[in-house]
């Protein structure tokens, strides 16, 4: 166990991550509204030692009631429409919506029209767009940090 922690410290140093310089935090609730699982896998790695989003005060919270931002991935399917709207309704104000990945932005969505409820934008007011298929962890991190800083999120085209 000690070796594991020591290795992690080494890794942290070798990556030379900048020290946290923000005094604020952001609570994020993720909703998969019908993704291919690619966006989730990249979002998961925002917690890896290469990115370590938590050190900036960014955390994934278990309930929308504790969230500042609803981070939505995937083309919204017909069956996820209700759960998505319910999660949004449960959030305290002020609240923000971020669309994660090209599917959530309604780009090149495939499937049967009957099974899809349209891009996130048709259902909720989107404040932050994170394009990419999928957007890599650093792009997700950078975009979300824009919200912590109160900036309008940068558009990251990679």
């Amino acid at each position: 166990m000690f070796a594991l922690l020591r290795d992690l410290r080494h890794l942290r140093r070798s990556l030379a991550l900048p020290p946290p310089d923000r005094g604020r935090s952001l609570a994020v609730r993720h909703v998969d509204a019908g993704s291919c699982n690619g966006c989730e896998h990249e979002l998961t790695l925002t917690a890896s030692p290469f990115c370590d989003l938590a050190r900036f005060g960014l955390g994934i919270v278990a309930s929308p009631r504790h969230a500042d931002v609803l981070l939505v991935s995937g083309a919204v399917t017909r069956r996820m429409r209700e759960p998505l709207l319910t999660a949004y309704a449960a959030m305290p104000e002020p609240r923000r919506v971020a669309a994660l990945g090209d599917c959530a932005l309604g780009r090149e969505v495939l499937g049967m029209p009957d099974d899809l409820a349209g891009p996130v934008e048709d259902l909720l007011p989107v404040d932050l767009r994170i394009p990419g298929c999928p957007p890599p962890p650093d792009a997700i991190a950078e975009a979300l940090l824009g919200l912590v800083d109160g900036r309008q999120g940068p558009t990251l085209i990679r």
């Binding site: 966006c39 069956r79 499937g111």
Partner: protein, 498 residues
């Protein structure tokens, strides 16, 4: 278990007697499919004979036009047989009593195509959600309570709903209601060209993009009478193993997360990130998207690139070995694993469990032993010494397969990768079946075609095959152990829902 390939390997080709049921046609050496149209009366007896001869159930789908239902059987040696039965009065006989693994296939066919299955009762809904009563199994008794979880989960997890029936903290029964992410991809693909159809398959799942893509490409190439050149086989095998590498590293991280071992989770998440960077270096995409197409491959890597990737993987292997050793000697972590979420050998066989979960239960089955369109010379599946079918065995299985994959990659990266094609070499046919060992197990893609366009597509992934096993692994365990059990399978929802 410590480190290295300490598991035993087993040959499975000798089991069963495929010839007694059906002999593959000419071209069987590159995996063509035998199509047998049978009557309603003989459908079940043919299936019974085949199963008795050692063939395994491989999926049921509704044929193009909806007038037939086809059931796939696979022999241990790799031969495939499609039994087609006509739909009469909207119905066909069920096979769920003969092959319990057909349960989801038949429920899906009923929901999406309106086919009735005589003898499958109650035929619960699967893709159609409807009322609670239509999809839950009624559980009654004193002190019983239900816990409903999802579709939105607490972590970064795909959407799906679990309904636990509990007494106290102990799980009596689990109903999994998936298909929240059903996008109708298979139906949407109908009518597109064989080339274009690949996009729909790729969209089904980002985590299994290569496995699904190769299964689809193999199916289309069977339809077209194409056989991959050795260079194409090697390139695709390389991509498949790179996908398995990041996926298995991610699974180990997920199991650590399942018990709250942050140090192990973080470390293996770091390895996953590095494996994805290797993918990007080689192919330009972290998930290898866009690298598989029908009839050929455009992946190019010169000697320098290949050497760099090989060196990166060598370095990664050293650190993964050290991280793995830490996990093996971490007593509080190890203590949580044995006896949790058991799917034992007999259950795995009955449920049609595939992939690492099946091998961890002692079924030494792996599509890579019979993949003539890919490059797996002399491949032997590996199983753990103690194939107990619990979380511990499934974790150990990931370790064994990681070393195997590192070895395979090392061999595949001994030369530059050049663009390659598939060439004429087998008789074309109306139906192609591609089978690939995805990180989660056997993935089967059936393509029915008029020769130019997709008339029917069915993708039955390893995740789809294994979800019923997750539900079967839960009873008897404490509710708090379910995340760990679920993570030890680490199935995709997207792959199952399509």
């Amino acid at each position: 278990m410590t480190i290295g390939t300490t598991g035993r390997t087993e040959a499975i080709e000798s089991r069963g007697n495929p010839g007694a049921v059906a002999r593959p046609r000419v071209g069987g050496s590159v995996g063509t499919v035998e199509i047998a149209e049978v009557g309603t009366m003989t459908y079940r007896s043919r299936l019974t004979e085949a199963l008795a001869a050692g063939w395994r159930y491989g999926g049921t789908h509704v044929a193009a036009g909806g007038d037939r239902v086809r059931t796939l059987l696979t022999a241990p040696g790799g031969a495939t047989l499609l039994l087609g039965v006509p739909v009469e009065g909207g119905k066909v006989p069920t096979v769920v009593d003969l092959a319990p693994a057909a349960c989801w296939d038949e429920r899906e066919a009923a929901d999406l195509h309106g086919i009735g299955f005589i003898g499958h009762a109650p035929l619960r809904s699967l893709v159609d959600h409807g009322d609670l009563g239509r999809w839950t199994v009624p559980v009654a008794g004193t002190d019983l309570c239900q816990v409903a979880v999802g579709p939105i989960h607490a972590g970064v997890i795909e959407s799906g709903h679990f309904r636990f029936h509990l007494v106290g903290d102990r799980i009596l029964h689990l109903d999994a209601r998936l298909f929240y992410k059903h996008r109708g991809l298979e139906r949407a693909a109908e009518g597109s060209t064989l080339d274009r159809g690949a996009a729909y398959v790729a969209r089904a799942c980002g985590a299994c993009a290569v496995a699904n893509g190769v299964a689809y490409a193999h199916a289309c190439e069977q339809v077209l009478g194409l056989v991959p050149t050795p260079a194409l086989s090697r390139a695709r095998t390389l991509l498949l193993e790179l996908e398995r590498l990041w996926s298995h590293l991610n699974d180990v991280a997920a199991i650590c997360a399942g018990v709250g071992l942050a140090a192990g989770n973080t470390r293996f998440a770091g390895f996953t990130e590095r494996a994805r960077r290797v993918n990007a270096e080689l192919s330009g995409h972290r998930f290898l998207f866009g690298t598989v197409r029908v009839g050929g491959n455009d992946l190019v890597a010169d000697g320098g690139q290949v050497r760099a990737v090989r060196a990166a993987l060598d370095a990664l292997r050293v650190e993964v070995t050290s991280g793995w050793r830490e996990l093996m000697f971490n007593a509080s972590f190890q203590d949580r694993l044995p006896g949790a979420g058991v799917v034992a050998t007999e259950a795995a066989r009955r449920l049609g469990t595939v992939g690492p979960a099946a091998r961890a239960a002692g079924l030494a089955e792996d599509v890579r032993t019979a993949s003539p369109r890919l490059h797996y010379p002399g491949f032997r599946p590996v199983v753990p010494d103690r194939a107990t079918g619990d979380v511990r065995a499934r974790l150990e299985q990931r370790g064994l397969e990681l070393w195997q994959t590192f070895d395979l990659l090392d061999g595949l990266l001994d030369r530059p990768v050049e663009p390659a094609t598939a060439e004429r070499g087998a008789p074309p046919g109306p139906i192609g079946v591609g089978r690939v060992e995805s990180p989660r197990g056997a993935t089967t893609c059936v393509v029915e075609s008029d020769g130019a366009r997709v008339t029917r597509l069915r993708l039955r992934t390893g995740s789809y095959a294994n979800w019923p096993s997750v539900a079967a692994a839960a009873p008897g365990n404490l509710l708090v152990d379910f995340p760990l059990i679920n993570k030890s399978f680490e199935l995709c929802y997207a792959c199952a829902d399509r």
